[in-house]
Amino acid sequence: ADKVTLQLKWVTQAQFAGYYVAKAKGFYDAEGLDVDIKPGGPDIAPEQVIAGGGADVIVDWMGGALAAREKGVPLVNIAQPFKKAGMELVCPKDGPIKTEADFKGHTLGVWFFGNEYPFYAWMNKLGLKTEGGPDGVTVLKQSFDVQPLIQKQADCISVMTYNEYWQLIDAGYKPEELTVFNYSAMGNDLLEDGLYASEDKLKDPAFEDKMVRFVRASMKGWKYAVDNSDEAAGIVMDNGGQDENHQKRMMGEVAKLIDNADGKLDPETYERTAKALLDQKIITKQPSGAYTTAITDKAIK
């Protein structure tokens, strides 16, 4: 079988269930692939891993991928399993922030490490300065948990619909006690989990074919996971996921982002993402060739 190494962007969790399912259910085998799934972590940059030759394909957010492309690692989006973004900003209702107009002078928790672009794009749109002071907002680099809200260190914090949000619920907040600013709902979302491979390698037809098979099997995995979410969560647990209940819930939420599981990139969202990145000078020129629909076209007929 052909070997493929997949580097995830985060630790093993239902966020990546499709790949684990495809592997566990033998979808990869069926395509003649031997896939090695490498979990990520807070300080793994999949872009570096692929640049160093440690992976054939990575799960990445578009911001990071385009930035890396401009820095000489020619990443190409070959599929986009997540159609919608899962990131949102939540604020407790008993706090000072109820609407966008209340942000001024308050502290907001933001994830960095490449996840801060949607936030800055949004603030830009609102015309709010992010250097603190009474006329702007104070930005706190948030750890990847919900403590800043519980400790009242921030007035709002970033969460993923499929993960940290539920930790708040677990911590005793009721959904009706939280104000939610969902980036997708506001139209401020940037593309999240997509599959990226190296442009150079894609020129090789054999590799391209391998990717076609990989994407096909992966999307099949996603479809299965969406349809059998409890079983999928179980598979994630078998691969080192934590907290079964939580994974089940996560799978349910992730399913909402997957949509129809065709993995096709929506060019409109792509353009919006690229523009937002340009506006924030994360990248300096309009990217070209940063995505291809060839793979998904061949994979999903």
């Binding site: 807070p42 300080d43 890396a68 820095k71 930005v139 706190l140 403590q147 260190q153």
Partner: protein, 372 residues
């Protein structure tokens, strides 16, 4: 007495590398012509190198210095526009130049100049050359082999980034070093020291506190940092708390060992004066412990920096060296990451150097300082 060593091995090695380079063809795939000048330059200097033992070391070292660095400059200069296409001969020439620079450093370290200034200059020049070559090799390899920028940028790019980002770097240094590191270092080292004294003074604590002090030793930053952020907020106080925990243990262990280091006869002498605990401590045991205590201060000077930076990976205001590093990694601005690392290394070295100077002044009597 050059009669003992026939010729320096470096010259022989350089010659061999050069021959290898000549046989393995052009330096880069793109422009085959480039490099002849470099080869010639190295070759001439090699002749010098071989004859070198005839010259006074100072002159030979100067020749080598100019030669090796001139050659490598030519090598790097020719690389512009040809990144990633260097061939084996390029690296052989690079190695040849390196070996000559090595010889240069060896010659320089054998010099024993009479003047105070010359000695000071040498003390600075030798590590500088050594360091310069780390950077040169890094530059030549990253650019020559075309290592992806986001894996490891060449030093020239990092230098440019430092020059362009001075205000940001300054703000980060202020946040991380002048607030978290210094406070944490002083309090952490102080606490380790006082705990050691307490344990020494009260046998009950000695038996009870030391095993528990050992447990503090490995509280991993990654485990502790989130907790500290929880307790002390996301600003510098929580980073200082992490630094305190990290620096506490080396000081505790070293002070305890140092307090046992004074001689028996000296302790007996203080007993004959019916000297109290504190007098014996200050007049005998602490001075005798000074080499150990300075050991801890030196180790802590680097630990404190690592601790503060790493702690900033967890929850910070949007300024600070650790914040910048983790953020810029996400933005693929690896040059900025290395710019911060370079600043950290510089700050750490200065910090360490200051501690080492104090050590020399305070423990001038210790054989390790007196005798070399």
């Amino acid at each position: 007495m050059s009669s003992v060593t026939p010729r320096s091995w470096q010259a022989v090695a350089a010659l061999a590398l050069l021959a290898g380079a000549l046989f393995s063809g052009p330096l880069v795939t793109a422009t085959p012509g480039y490099g002849i000048a470099t080869v010639a330059l190295i070759f001439i200097l090699l002749l010098f190198a071989i004859q070198m033992d005839r010259f006074p070391p100072a002159i030979a070292a100067t020749c080598l210095f100019i030669g090796a660095h001139g050659a490598v400059w030519a090598l790097l200069h020719g690389l512009a526009g040809n990144e990633g296409t260097a061939r084996i001969s390029f690296f052989l020439l690079l190695a040849a130049a390196w070996v000559l620079a090595w010889r240069c450093v060896a010659l320089l370290s054998s010099l024993r100049p009479a003047g105070k200034w010359a000695r000071t200059a040498l003390r600075l020049i030798i590590p500088a050359i050594f360091g310069a070559w780390i950077l040169i090799l890094w530059e030549a390899i990253t650019r020559g082999a075309g290592i992806p920028f986001i894996l490891l940028p060449p030093p020239s790019a990092i230098g440019a980034r430092i020059a362009n980002s001075l205000p940001i770097l300054a703000a980060d240094v202020r946040q991380t070093i002048f607030k978290a590191v210094i406070f944490g270092y002083v309090v952490g080292s102080g606490a380790g020291f006082l705990t050691a004294i307490l344990a020494d003074r009260v046998p009950f604590f000695r038996r009870g506190l030391l095993p528990i002090g050992n447990m503090v030793s490995a509280l991993p930053i990654i485990g502790v940092a989130p907790i500290m952020v929880m307790w002390f907020g996301f600003d510098w106080q929580s980073k200082a708390a992490v630094v305190i925990i990290m620096t506490f243990f080396p000081m505790l262990v070293n002070t305890v060992a140092g307090l046992a280091a004074s001689g028996h006869m000296e302790r007996d002498l203080m007993r004959t004066y019916a000297s109290g605990y504190w007098q014996t401590l200050f007049k005998l045991r602490l001075p005798a412990a000074a080499p150990f205590i300075f050991n801890a201060l030196k180790i802590n000077s680097t630990l404190a920096l690592i601790g503060a930076i790493v702690a900033e990976f967890f929850g910070t205001p949007v300024v600070g060296m650790g914040f910048r590093i983790s953020t810029e990694v996400g933005r693929m601005n690896i040059d900025m990451v290395w710019a911060e690392i370079a600043v950290a290394a510089l700050a750490g070295s200065v910090f360490y150097g200051v501690v080492a100077l104090f050590e020399r002044a305070v423990t001038f009597w210790h054989p390790s300082v007196r005798g070399g």
